[in-house]
Symmetry: none
Subunit: 404 residues, 2 copies
């Protein structure tokens, strides 16, 4: 079954109902065993609540994109929401823009920006300008915001620390240009070049903008230059409510995940970034929605930092807060990740992601704990992540029979 067909099929059999689904995404959940113990982060964590949920529910492993493919955060989440992550490839600029509540217009081209440090000869010495404070970033963005080049308005908004967005607004812009971010130090920022003839104007404006910025920032070392990447326009995604007839809401402390949820048509709740805050936000708003995407970022950050113990601790924190959710008795709880981030690899990886579904109507399996090794033998088997939404919908009794 092709995935476009999948969404059409969902659209044709989904029904609105009072039942509620919680999708708890523990970012970068999957891991690799620490050689000394043979146990992964998830297998090391003390997590009685998740283990109980696994024992009563059904487990498995999911591939966000496919075996062997390491997903970025965006395709990882798109797959969890049921969209084919290869067909719907969303640019980084768009994600960052919608993640800071920026109202992208059709035709806008958004880029993700880093403030960076360059030396006297123009070589990048720090791609993150020493991770300047968010306040400093906002101040510099104020300085750069509002330039107009050849009729194109350039809007600059701070994101976090050294990161900002640049939105190019006006006629005749294309997203088909390369990054100026060389992704390494010791070299100059790249000239923005067009990937096709239609993108010549975007490349030209981009380069003029970077040149003006360089002048504006001369006195602001370490943030004396910018790097731009992920030039992109807002894509059209059919919305979660359109496909599944849900009233969906996202609770995520980290901008990119809020942005992604908005692209999928979810409402986004105000929340602090702490896990406890996120869980309380869900509780407080539980009566108003029937689909909750709850995103925990800190597992992924710990994995990226290679901090096995911190990742274990975050999982334990999530576990300790789980009764906040189970106490609400949602009809379906799904716990999984958008990809694996093994501390041993210090980055996202291709390993399939532990998956747990709890519902009155699931067919319980023998998995008595939530772990990679138990999930291997779980009743859900190994499935593409795009099949998680249909499973959640079915277990919430929100899907009609297909065919007579």
């Amino acid at each position: 079954m092709k995935n476009m067909d999948n969404l059409d099929l969902m659209k044709s059999i989904s029904i609105a109902s009072p039942s509620k689904i919680v999708l708890l995404v523990i970012d970068g959940l999957g891991g690799l065993p620490r050689p000394e113990t043979g146990r992964t982060e998830l297998e090391t964590a003390k997590k009685p609540n998740l283990d109980n949920l696994a024992a009563e529910g059904i487990c498995g492993l999911s591939d966000p994109i496919g075996p062997g493919i390491t997903p970025g955060s965006a395709p990882g989440h798109l797959a969890l929401f049921g969209y084919d992550p290869v067909s719907y490839n969303i640019g980084r600029g768009v994600l960052e823009a919608v993640g800071v509540d920026f109202d992208l217009q059709p035709g806008d081209v958004a880029a993700r920006g880093n403030f960076c440090t360059v030396d006297k000869s123009g070589m990048v010495t720090d791609r993150r300008a020493g991770r300047i404070s968010t306040e400093k970033c906002a101040e510099l963005c104020g300085l750069l915001d509002g330039k107009v080049i050849d009729g194109i308005e350039i809007i600059i908004r701070p994101v976090k620390e050294h990161r900002f967005i640049a939105v190019f607004r006006g006629e005749g812009l294309s997203e088909g240009v390369n990054d100026s971010d060389p992704q390494q130090t010791g070299v100059a920022p790249l000239v923005i070049s067009a990937l096709n003839r239609e993108a010549n104007r975007m490349a030209d404006i981009g380069n003029q903008f970077v040149a003006q910025v360089k002048t504006s920032l001369t006195e602001h070392s370490p943030a004396n230059m910018v790097l731009l990447r992920g030039f992109s326009k807002r894509p059209h995604l059919p919305s979660i409510s359109e496909i599944y007839k849900l009233k969906p809401v996202a609770i995520a402390g980290y901008p990119m995940y809020r942005g992604l949820a908005r692209l999928a048509g979810m409402e986004v709740l105000e929340t602090e970034a702490g896990i406890e805050d996120e869980f309380k936000t869900l509780t407080k708003n539980y009566k108003d929605y029937d689909f909750f995407f709850l995103h925990v970022k800190a597992t992924d950050s710990a994995g990226e930092d290679g901090d096995f113990d911190r990742k274990v601790a975050v999982i334990e924190e999530v576990d300790s807060l789980l009764p906040e959710i189970t106490g609400l008795q949602p009809d379906v709880i799904v716990v999984t990740g958008d990809h694996s981030t093994p501390a041993l690899l210090k980055g996202h990886s291709w390993h399939p992601v532990p998956l747990l579904l709890s519902s009155r109507w699931c067919r319980t399996d023998k998995a008595s704990e939530f772990s990679e090794s138990a999930c291997v033998l779980g009743g859900l088997g190994r499935i593409p992540a795009t099949q998680i939404m249909p499973l959640a919908m079915a277990n919430a009794l929100k899907l009609k029979k297909f065919g007579a």
Copy 2:
């Protein structure tokens, strides 16, 4: 994820690196249990080295084409190399031709030929002419080679025993014709017929050729007739190096597998057909390549002959030679087959194929031996064979992250 996209995706995220991958294909590896013992060929074999590799690595089962589909050798191998075996269906004639180093030109139509025996009434009594010697085959091919019919040159080359290739070279030929091989005895060879209007010329030339051959071979019983099948033109496959940025090489004693590897753009090393010779060829050339396709044929031949014990013995021989490979410490070793060939069925079968991947970065599972039953519970689950290459690439750290 559609498979055509899959190759494009691989192309976009593959990176060249010094890490090395060995793909050991034990042809027809999968089996069925002998009723007396309940153990398959693989489960009967004493194979401490493969069992160790399984214990340290990750196991699973692969479907070359799909559940229930029995693969020929060509689609089985195409899937292992990552090509959708249904989209890329390569004719048997082409495979045999490239397998004997024949330089097929665009427009050539190649057919696989058997010398066979017919009785006085023209009925086939032995489809293989008593498996005449390769020397005799070469002599007869010399007799038939070089005929020209209506401007079409017909080139005949010996393969092995009763087998040869016929290559039709000239203008206006099509591959759309049926075989003349009836695949059974007691009937006459079939008239070659066109499957579409464009193929009328090919059918006509083919039938004229067979008629001339019959006259030429009258005195050469038991090889007094030929059967032709698999009329086909060389297809375009994107090469392994183009898709995966690998420097690939094939080591295979049996012509068809060399031919297939060439179609996938691999270099082919000279080697004797013995398993030990093949392994030594790999060792000798290890520094010069980063992807090694090593093919063991004798398991399949034993399975086809219904010789359970011989298949067990071949697996044991492979196992005893395995330290030649593991001693080189490749970054990734994959051991699998192109399909199952259970001795009990005396032929290829649809049963999924045991699969073992060993790498520093694989997520080890509970499979402590390499067997069909252990693979059922392995961490790789049950995957299409086309996903083996992405997994090998990922475990060799040769794939970039997909998406932001």
